[in-house]
Symmetry: none
Subunit: 343 residues, 2 copies
């Protein structure tokens, strides 16, 4: 591998002092245009990377963590999903507590984000957060590893990439909340949420749901399931379809609280009451879920803890300490929408 | 291997000049939206890669906006105030739409943040957002201006620093919501929120409240006011004090929704009902305020619009276009907690 070009190399080739190089690269008016152009051309030819400031040159540290946000491309492009917003807040706060700045960048899964931070000194490490087709970006993780880029990701353990995944036990969460509904006496069910392999969080919740129903002999192949994305609209329309088909079950299990909000909204416009006629449960425990009428039974993803663990694991990786995958336990939050008032 | 696409290729296909391509890819407002979209689409189709370093060398642009967050030092250091979190989400989204990254940095008002971004190429401009004693950082704005740093701030117009303030009409909001309560027949009042000059947003809301009461002959010097910061706890304790003094008024005006949440919580534990015995109103229209029981009457601060205006004004300033202060109108959101159901 070739050695990195330094400002000294540029100075030598351009026949100027190092401080002139520095000024020219900063476009200082103290250096005439012709010299500026020449220095900048040589810098480009040498593939010289400007570091953000002198102290960064010495330490190679930016004291910045990059957060790459991948979004469900179908989501509303004018607002951020409340679960991600909560994670964004928690990660921002955890960075501040560690005296790091946070560089937030929206990315498309298809883009070359894995190369973006390769040599630049923009950030000391990367947090990957988002919904989307995990399988399609899995190979990019290998590239990050080859580059020696420090990163952690929000998601389930992946045996090909050990030590970089912090996630919530979605399978257990789906299982526990479904079994709770069974124990409350509910016998017919519907699941609203995509259960395909490109949405691994939802798929794991759905698998837990299926296994809980199977354990109690309640699973059948024709138990309704809707390939909904995480929006209120998806939940709203799924309920409309159930009502049209006169197929409203005893209990509706939603893959996210946002879907459950839409379900509650559709049921308020129907002759059916929650939880008397139909139980509804969500997933995430976003802030509003404690304030709905009835208050929503859900599974907590502790975003505050998640942000802390993501940032602290990344900082350990940056410090070249050993890091581990972390699977946060799923925590059932029992409120009124499932028919139980926890009393 | 195919040869790399150049900006010349894009210019040729788009039928525009190379400099228009460059501006369009940098999302310069000098290029109209339609052309920007077309150029960016062609660039994506050609899998065109901007050489970040070379391009930054030429333009001295980082394509990054810095968000400096100043916090009420008394706030809970494990979470972000929901109003700020909503602003953070909206600013992040507006940056993404403009293809800018966002560098988020928590700051203490006392720190030398005004010098931090002076010579560094970390960001093309700065957004200042936060509660705190405005008077204590006013002189730092002068220094930013002298440095030629591009910045905008969330807050009221300041005649010493024209063109950099985007804010909400807090005075009008305080006036309107109070007058609404008066028109509903309420005659005795209390205000919960700091009304000192170091909290200019709350002070303006309080002044609007006082003027509305005065207009209707309802203002007296001994109308209770509590120097509360924006937390649930502040609201909770203020109500406890009112109850102990047997001084519960007809209506409680809170300087923020978070305070109002604490007020509602304290009243739920009391023999008094909202809105039958006492009306409660908030300020901000944070997401949960539509879900409380009863739903909270409040004044909307449109964070989605605010984020867009902050980012777009800053981008104009960076592009050396003329910019203006912007005072967003206060919008009354009438729900049930004031006794009116808007019917």
């Amino acid at each position: 591998m070739k050695e990195k070009a330094t400002s000294f190399d540029i100075a030598h080739i351009a026949g100027v002092s190092q401080s002139t190089v520095s000024r020219a690269l900063n476009n200082s008016p103290l250096v005439n245009q012709e010299t500026r152009d020449r220095v900048q051309r040589i810098a480009r030819e040498l593939n010289y990377k400007v570091d953000k400031n002198a102290s960064n040159l010495r330490t190679q540290k930016s004291n910045t963590i990059a957060l790459l946000l991948f979004e469900d491309p179908t989501s509303d492009d004018s607002m951020i999903n409340p679960f991600f917003l909560s994670m964004l807040g928690s990660i921002t706060r955890a960075c501040a507590n560690a005296r790091y700045d946070l560089l937030v960048s929206f990315q498309n899964l298809d883009d070359d984000w894995h190369a973006e931070y390769e040599d630049s000194n923009k950030a000391d490490g990367i947090i990957l957060l988002g919904y989307g087709d995990y399988l399609s970006y899995r190979n990019k993780l290998s590239q990050l590893e080859e580059q020696g880029t420090h990163f952690v990701r929000w998601g389930a353990h992946d045996k090909e990439h050990p030590g970089v995944s912090i996630g919530c036990d979605n399978y257990q969460g789906g299982f526990d909340i479904t079994e709770h509904l069974v124990k409350m006496g509910h016998r017919s069910f519907a699941f609203i949420g995509d259960a395909g392999s490109h949405a691994p969080e939802f798929m794991a919740r759905h698998q837990g749901y299926v296994d809980a129903l199977s354990k109690h002999g309640l699973w059948t192949e024709d138990t309704p399931q809707f390939d909904a994305i995480s929006t209120e609209d998806s939940g709203f329309h799924a309920v409309q379809e159930l009502l049209e088909q006169e197929a409203l079950p005893d209990a509706i299990v939603c893959a996210s609280d946002l879907i459950a909000m839409g379900v509650l909204k559709a049921l308020r416009l129907s002759p059916y009451s929650v939880p008397e006629d139909v139980a509804v449960v969500g997933y995430d425990n976003i802030q509003v879920s404690g304030f709905t009428t009835p208050a929503l039974t859900t599974v907590q993803q502790n975003t505050r803890l998640a942000g802390e663990i993501l940032v602290n694991t990344l900082l350990k990786a940056i410090a070249k300490q050993e890091v581990h995958d972390y699977l946060m336990p799923a925590e059932l939050i029992i409120r009124q929408s499932c028919g139980s008032d926890n009393s």
